[in-house]
Symmetry: C2
C-alpha cells in the first residue's frame, strides 16, 4: 500500500522548452549569420517553432525513436531543431561537418538517420554524400531552398497547436558520435533523464552559474559533445543566447560587446584567437563574467589573462560519454584566502566533480588495483554517474565494469581533495621498463623550445625496455634546432629516463577531423620505424 506520494513528473527534456517559454518567454535568442545579418527571436518563439517542427516531422512519418540529424553551425533554427526533434519523440543526431567523408558515411548509415537538416554552407557535403547515405529520406535546408525543403517554409506550414510526444524518461533523446582513436566512431545515446539531470546540475555556480541575467555566447559548436548541454541548461535558467554561425574572432568580440555577453564557452584555441584579435584591435570584453574552457587543457597564460580581467574560469574536463560535464575548475572552500598565483594553480588543473560524478584511478597494469588519491600516482581514469555512458549505440555489451565504472581512456592523477589532473591518454602513454612515460608531458616540454612548432611522442618497440619514446618535431618556419640541442633542452624539463631515444624532424604531423594530433596515423606512418640501438 502506498502511504502517500509526491507528484509524478517525468524527466523529459521538453519540460525545458515549456518552462523557458512560460517563465522567460520574452528573453531573446540572437543569431548572427555568415552574411552579417542577424535574427532575433525569444524562448516563446523557440518553443512555438519547435512545436511546428514536431508537426512537420509527424507529417513526414517520423516516429518515436527515429533519428533526426543536423549538419549545422550555431543559430536559433538549430536550437529549434533540438527541441523539435525530441518533441516528436525522435533522437537528435548532431553531426560534425568537419569529419572525413568515410566517417560521415559511416555515422549517418550507422545511426540510420531518417531526416537531415543542414546549413546551405554544407550543401557541398550533402551533395557529395547523398549517394552514400542509405537511410536519409528527407533533406531540409536551414537557410536556402532548392533542391532541399526550406526550413522556414517547412515549419511555416504548421500552426504549432499540438503536444509533445510523451514517453518514458529513459527513452533516448540525442545521439552523438565520438571519433575514437581506433576503429569506427561510436555513438553515445543520451536519455531524457540523463540529459535533464545534467542540465539541472549545470546551473550551479561551480558549473555554468546560470540565472535569468546570464547572456551566453556558446562558441562551442552545437555539434560538439552535445554542445556541453547548453541548449538544455540554458532553457532551465531562461538565459539569453547569442549565436554566431561564424567563428571569426572579430565577429565574436563585436557580438560580445553589443549583446553584453556575460558567459561564454569554448575550446582553448577559440580563446587564443580571441586574445589575438583583442591585442590587435584593442577590443575588450567588459561584460564577460564566466568563461567555460574545455575540450583540451588550457595553457596557464590563458587562465591568468581571463582571471586578471575579472572573469571566473571554469576549466572543465569531460567527454562525449559524460554528457559531457565531468569536472569543472570550481573555486575551492579556501578560495578567498589564496594568492592570485595559487588561484591560477587550481584553475590550471581540471578541477573537481560536481554532485553526480564520481572518479577513480586504477593501475595501468592491473585495473583491479584502485590507486590512492595522493596527488602523485597516475593511472587510468574511470568515471560513473547518472549522465555517464553505460552502453554505446548498437553495441553488443556494456562499456562499464561490474561496478558501473566507465574507463575514460585518460591517464590522470587525483589529489586528496578530489582535484583531477590529466597527464595523457591510455593509448599514448609509453611503457618503458615497467614504468610509464607521459607522451603529453614530453610534447608540452618540447613545444616550450622557441624553434618547435609542434611535437608528438610515440612509443617504439624496444627489445629490452618494451617501449622507448621517439619524438617527432615540426620546426617553426625560419627557425632551426638540432636533435642534440633539443635533447639538451628537454633534459632540463623531464626525468632523464623519459628523454626520447630519437628525435625526428618532419614536415607535418597528422591530425584528426576534430583538429587533435592523430597518434594513430603517426604510428601507421612510422610502423616500420626501428630504433638504431635496438635493430
Amino acid at each position: 500500500m502506498q502511504l502517500g506520494a509526491m507528484q509524478d513528473w517525468k524527466l523529459r527534456v521538453t519540460h525545458l522548452a515549456d518552462y523557458a517559454a512560460r517563465e522567460h518567454g520574452t528573453r531573446e535568442i540572437v543569431s548572427h549569420w555568415a552574411d552579417g545579418s542577424e535574427t532575433r527571436t525569444n524562448w516563446a518563439g523557440i518553443r512555438r517553432d519547435a512545436l511546428k517542427m514536431t508537426q512537420a516531422l509527424r507529417q513526414m512519418g517520423v516516429k518515436k525513436g527515429d533519428r533526426i540529424a543536423t549538419l549545422a553551425m550555431n543559430h536559433h533554427r538549430h536550437l529549434v531543431t533540438w527541441y523539435g526533434a525530441v518533441g516528436v519523440g525522435g533522437v537528435l543526431h548532431t553531426v560534425n561537418p568537419r569529419l572525413f567523408d568515410d566517417q560521415l558515411e559511416y555515422i549517418a548509415n550507422h545511426a540510420e538517420d531518417k531526416v537531415l537538416l543542414f546549413d546551405a554552407a554544407f550543401a557541398p557535403i550533402v551533395e557529395r554524400m547523398k549517394p552514400k547515405w542509405k537511410t536519409i529520406e528527407h533533406y531540409v535546408c536551414f537557410d536556402s531552398g532548392e533542391p532541399a525543403i526550406h526550413f522556414e517554409d517547412w515549419i511555416g506550414a504548421q500552426d504549432g497547436e499540438t503536444e509533445w510526444e510523451d514517453g518514458d524518461e529513459r527513452e533516448p533523446c540525442m545521439l552523438c558520435y565520438t571519433s575514437g582513436t581506433t576503429g569506427n566512431p561510436k555513438g553515445v545515446l543520451y536519455e531524457h533523464r540523463s540529459t535533464m539531470l545534467h542540465a539541472m546540475a549545470g546551473l550551479q555556480p561551480s558549473i555554468f552559474d546560470f540565472d535569468a541575467r546570464s547572456v551566453m555566447l556558446p562558441v562551442v559548436p552545437m555539434f560538439h559533445a552535445a554542445a556541453w548541454g547548453l541548449p538544455w541548461g540554458g532553457a532551465a535558467a531562461g538565459v539569453k543566447f547569442v549565436y554566431s554561425a561564424v567563428n571569426d574572432p572579430a565577429v565574436l568580440c563585436d557580438l560580445m560587446q553589443r549583446e553584453k555577453v556575460t558567459h561564454s564557452a569554448g575550446v582553448p584555441t577559440v580563446w587564443l584567437a580571441t586574445f589575438q584579435h583583442m591585442d590587435a584591435t584593442g577590443a575588450t570584453l567588459p561584460h564577460l563574467k564566466q568563461a567555460i574552457i574545455g575540450g583540451s587543457a588550457a595553457p596557464r597564460f590563458m587562465v591568468e589573462r581571463l582571471m586578471k580581467a575579472g572573469v571566473n574560469v571554469a576549466h572543465a574536463w569531460g567527454m562525449t560519454e559524460t554528457s559531457p560535464i565531468g569536472t569543472t575548475g570550481a573555486r575551492t572552500f579556501d578560495w578567498d584566502d589564496l594568492s592570485f598565483e595559487e588561484q591560477v594553480d587550481i584553475k590550471c588543473k581540471q578541477g573537481r566533480t560536481p554532485f553526480g560524478v564520481e572518479l577513480r584511478c586504477v593501475s595501468l597494469d592491473d585495473p583491479g588495483v584502485v590507486l590512492p588519491r595522493d596527488g602523485e600516482t597516475s593511472g587510468a581514469l574511470q568515471v560513473r554517474g547518472p549522465w555517464v555512458l553505460k552502453r554505446y549505440f548498437k553495441a553488443e555489451e556494456d562499456a562499464v565494469d561490474k561496478d558501473g565504472w566507465f574507463d575514460t581512456g585518460d591517464v590522470a592523477i587525483l589529489y586528496p581533495d578530489g582535484t583531477l589532473q590529466l597527464t595523457d591518454r591510455t593509448k599514448d602513454v609509453i611503457k618503458s621498463g615497467g614504468e610509464w612515460i607521459s607522451s603529453v608531458e614530453l610534447e608540452n616540454a618540447a613545444v616550450g623550445h622557441p624553434a618547435v612548432a609542434e611535437a608528438a611522442a610515440i612509443g617504439i618497440h624496444h627489445p629490452k625496455w618494451d617501449e622507448r619514446p621517439v619524438l617527432f618535431v615540426v620546426k617553426k618556419a625560419g627557425q632551426d634546432v638540432s636533435a642534440d640541442e633539443l635533447k639538451d633542452y628537454l633534459a632540463g624539463h623531464v626525468a632523464k629516463w623519459w628523454l626520447p631515444d630519437a628525435i625526428e624532424f618532419v614536415d607535418d604531423i597528422p591530425h584528426t577531423g576534430t583538429g587533435k594530433i592523430s597518434k594513430k596515423d603517426l604510428r601507421e606512418r612510422f610502423k616500420d620505424y626501428t630504433l638504431e640501438d635496438a635493430a
Copy 2:
C-alpha cells in the same frame, strides 16, 4: 531492443552524504550548544556517524519504511540523524516541539513513530507525552543519558562498516506534518527522488547559490518544512554548516562573524531580532552575501536594509507540501538596469519559479476558470511539479486535480513575467457582494496606524452582502485610537467598500503553534457575533 544506455543511478538521498564525505570530507560542520560550548566535525564525520546510526537502528529492529522521529534544535547530531534515518531505509520524521500537546500526540501516533531522538531541553515534553505515544519503542537523547539512551554511546558502539539500505527512488525518506487551519495536521511524505531533485535545484544562483565556498548558518529550524531542504542541498555542494541550538540574536551574530557565515536562511522575525541586536550593539555581518527569507512575507524595510548591506535577498514562497521551494525572489534579466527602488520592489514580491515548479491562479468562484497572468486578477494559487505533494500521508485520495494541480490555499496575483504576489489565504478572504476582500491587506493597512499592535480581519455573515469584514484590533500599550479614527485612517489605504463594518478592540488575538494569527480560533471565539445593521 535497447539500442544503448546511460548509467543506472537511483536518485537516493544517501548519494548526497557519500558525495559530501568523498569530495568535501574536511569541510567543517560546527555546532553551538545552549551551554555555549561548541563541537566541530566535518562531512566525513557526518557520514561515518550516519553509517553507525544505520547499524544501531538495524540492531533495534528498524526496517525499511519505519518512521524515526526527532524533537530537536539545529546541531550536527540532528544532521547525522537525517542521513542515519534514511540510511537504514527509514523515514525521518521531524517533529516541531512548539506544537500543542494534542498535536504532538496526534502526529506521533498517526506517523506510528518507532524511535524518537530528542534534545535534553525537550525532555519535559517527552516525559509528559510518553503515556500518550502508542508506537514509540525507543527513546534516544542527543545530549544526555538516563533515562534515555545517550546518542553518542548508542552510535559509539558501532564501527560504521556497513552499506546504506538500497531501494527504489520513489520510496519515502521523510515525513513532515503541516498544521492546517482546519482539522488534524496532515503529513507530507517526501520521496528520495523528489527530495533529490529539490536539492539539486537548490544549488542554482536563483535559490541558495551554493558552492564549496559557502558557509551556511540556517536559522530555520530543522523541524520546519524539511529545513527548506538545506541538509540535503548543502551536502550536494559541500557547504560548511554552522548550527546553533539556540536562536539568541547575540549568539547568531557572534557565530556569523567568527565563522565567516556567507549564507543564512530564516523567517522574517529572526531577521528582525538580528537587526535589533545589531542596532543595540553595533554588530555587523561583514561576510553575509545571501539571505533567504521565507515562511511569511518580509517587510520592505527588511529587504532594503539587507540589500543596502550588499546582501542578495532571496525572498521565497513555499510550503511543506512543496518541499518547500516554490518561488524565490530571483534577480530578473534586466536587474543591472534597474534603480535600487525598482530592485527592492521586485524583492518585496514572492518572486518567480525555478525550473520544475509551475503555478497558476484559478477563480475563487469557479476553479475551472484559469485566470490570466495580468498582474491584477487575484485567485486561488495552484502548483505542480516533481517536488510537490500528490497525496497526504495515509490519505484516502489524492490532493491534486486530474491535471496534477495542488491547491495551495493561498490567494495570489501572478504577473506576466511569472512573478508571484500573495494576497491572502483562501479560507480568510472575505466575499462581499460577489467580490473578494483580502483580509491580509486590510490587516497590513491597520498595523500601519501608530496605535495598532496587531489586527485580524474576518468575514461575518451579512444577509445582503453574504459577508462583511470585521476588524479585531489590539492596541499598543499606552496608545489609543477610536474605531472611527481608525476607519478614517483605513479609508486612505483601501477601497471604500473594503472598509470594515465594525472595528472591535480586544486584549489579544489567538495564535497557532507556529506563531501565526489563528483565524480559526478567532472565528470560534466570535461565532455568535452579529453585525448591528444585519441583526
